[in-house]
Symmetry: C2
Subunit: 394 residues, 2 copies
Amino acid sequence: MVPVRPENAYQARLLRMLRDDGPRSRVELGDAVGLSRSRLIAEVDRLVELGLVETAGPAASRGGRRSSLLRVAGTVRFAGVVIGTDRLTVAVTDGELNVLAELREPADVRSGPGPVVARAGELVGKLRAELGLAQLTGVGVGLPGPVAFREGTPIAPGALPGWHGFPVRDTLGAELGCPTLVDNDANVMALGEQHAGIGRTFDDFLYVKLGTAIGCGLVLRGAPHRGATSGAGDIAHLRLADEGPGCACGEAGCLEAYCGEAGLIGAALDAARSGRSPALADRLATAGTLTMADVAGAAAGGDPAVQAVVRDAARRLGQVLVGLVSFVNPGIVIIGGAPDGLGHTLLAEIRAVVYRRSAPLATGTMPIVLSDLGERAGVVGAARLISEQVFAAE
Amino acid sequence: MVPVRPENAYQARLLRMLRDDGPRSRVELGDAVGLSRSRLIAEVDRLVELGLVETAGPAASRGGRRSSLLRVAGTVRFAGVVIGTDRLTVAVTDGELNVLAELREPADVRSGPGPVVARAGELVGKLRAELGLAQLTGVGVGLPGPVAFREGTPIAPGALPGWHGFPVRDTLGAELGCPTLVDNDANVMALGEQHAGIGRTFDDFLYVKLGTAIGCGLVLRGAPHRGATSGAGDIAHLRLADEGPGCACGEAGCLEAYCGEAGLIGAALDAARSGRSPALADRLATAGTLTMADVAGAAAGGDPAVQAVVRDAARRLGQVLVGLVSFVNPGIVIIGGAPDGLGHTLLAEIRAVVYRRSAPLATGTMPIVLSDLGERAGVVGAARLISEQVFAAE
């Protein structure tokens, strides 16, 4: 089935406005888009004919005749898929990108792209059946690593061994029979923040994604910035020290080797083994290993050695951010994916470094905050990713 | 006099196309802009009526009736002003931003903004008289330091003591009686590269400006990126080392303290005084001081100690670029303002660091080149800056 698309830039703009701002009257839409009343009515009528827009009930009166509200049609349904290193999250949204249903389950990306992408397709199918949808309008996918955006394939993703070059977009698109786009997960989460988080009110912002794999999504001048070869934001393997902890990429001293989960756990293991953290040493002796929850628990409980580990990681991330913030001068920096219980410790140290070391013009009024969307940023952003393509004139 | 502006986005696009690509026939313009023939003719006729476009002679025949070429009107004349730390450069261009006349003279920015800005106005007036122009269409200005773009004022510019908050835009605009915009010089030079240099064929590029003050201009997705508070590209005072050479800003270890002219001369003085460079020690004994030309001459002449100084500076710039390039993934990096004779030594070392240390997705095919426009990038870019405003729909 060929998807219906707006026919011109005005229709596309009207649709995106209804997606972002919710139901609006014709008068409000006309004011915002700057179209004459007759032209606006013609474009809206065409969007209704195309099945992209529908009437939503009467609008509040401005005096004169009662007008009705318009909204994105109820047949517009997007799916958002986020492939994580250890789990799969899938949601279906309406045309305003509200999540209607969501599924999450463990997944092991090391089993290779074939089974994981097939499973993602099954989960989307399950939600589609549950919601009684004959057809999805489009599917967006985020995955943890660099993505060749035009090709829809991962590029040498450290966190996804065996996924290089796998046609994620084309495989899932063929399976689900609708327009599909794939992007790096940090880019997708940045789009989620732009739609439903604090990013909504900023034209320029950075979304830093912590967790197993570190990434950064850039929204610049109101749109995702992917760069010349869709590698923008690929900061995980910036080298902070020539002699540093080993990284999953095979090098040493990368940002991710300090601030990724494996890096934090590795530094906590050192603290346990050296006796600097007696509590973690006990835990290690009992359990045979340490988890991120152990590290976060010890830090939250006031263990000074573990707090030092967390602060050191945050300081290194802060030093990288100093350069990035001076360079692109964002309106806000949003930190997402911080391990439970560690967010505020990380944030305090990142702020201290960035505000102390950056050019005043770049950071004088720039907030650094934790994401308040949490995991939902990913699926909403993935839905927004594909909605941007489907809600654009051909 | 109120300047004439295009009336809608189509007229603006047609004008910018004629500015960038030179004379075109109606057919070529219609093909490029995607307007119907009747609408195109109406918009072009209106641009001719407004005095912004004129007929330029017959076009090559495509068969059928001979059509005539259109071009930006001969009454459209921009001025570009570049305020350097030690000189003033002023040019007047036609509507395609070809330089028609240029003046350059020494200037001392430490004499304060009043006299320098007044002198810039005089030089523009001189060129205007020389070319017999009643009126300029607009003036663009670049200056070495952060600029609050919306206000048209320098912000705490290290290289321009006493210039903070001086209304450069409004003073010069009132003096010359035409639309005026002021921006950071690296941004302006990036615009020059976009118009007339290798930047022309790239949507995303960085222009790194070496010299007395270091700066970086970003063109992202085809447009200058200034950031939330117009501080983007402000990399001069990124701290590379806690214990480093002193910087003009009062801190130590800044990028500029290593790679700016004062930094290079300082390191060369060390090499002279320590006896590592006997040639520069002689020169210092004779002249009492060292200049950038001395340093460049010694490096070009094969003095190993001075070459080491230059390579060290380049390596540090390269390390900063690794982060910036990973972060925004430009299509090309252009290095401008390299001291005469040092460009290729700097470039070789910068390339070595960036290609060795960056993520392959970001730099696999990314060239790093020296600017081939030289000083002209500044005045052409300043003219382009104001042309972007004047050639936009109101």
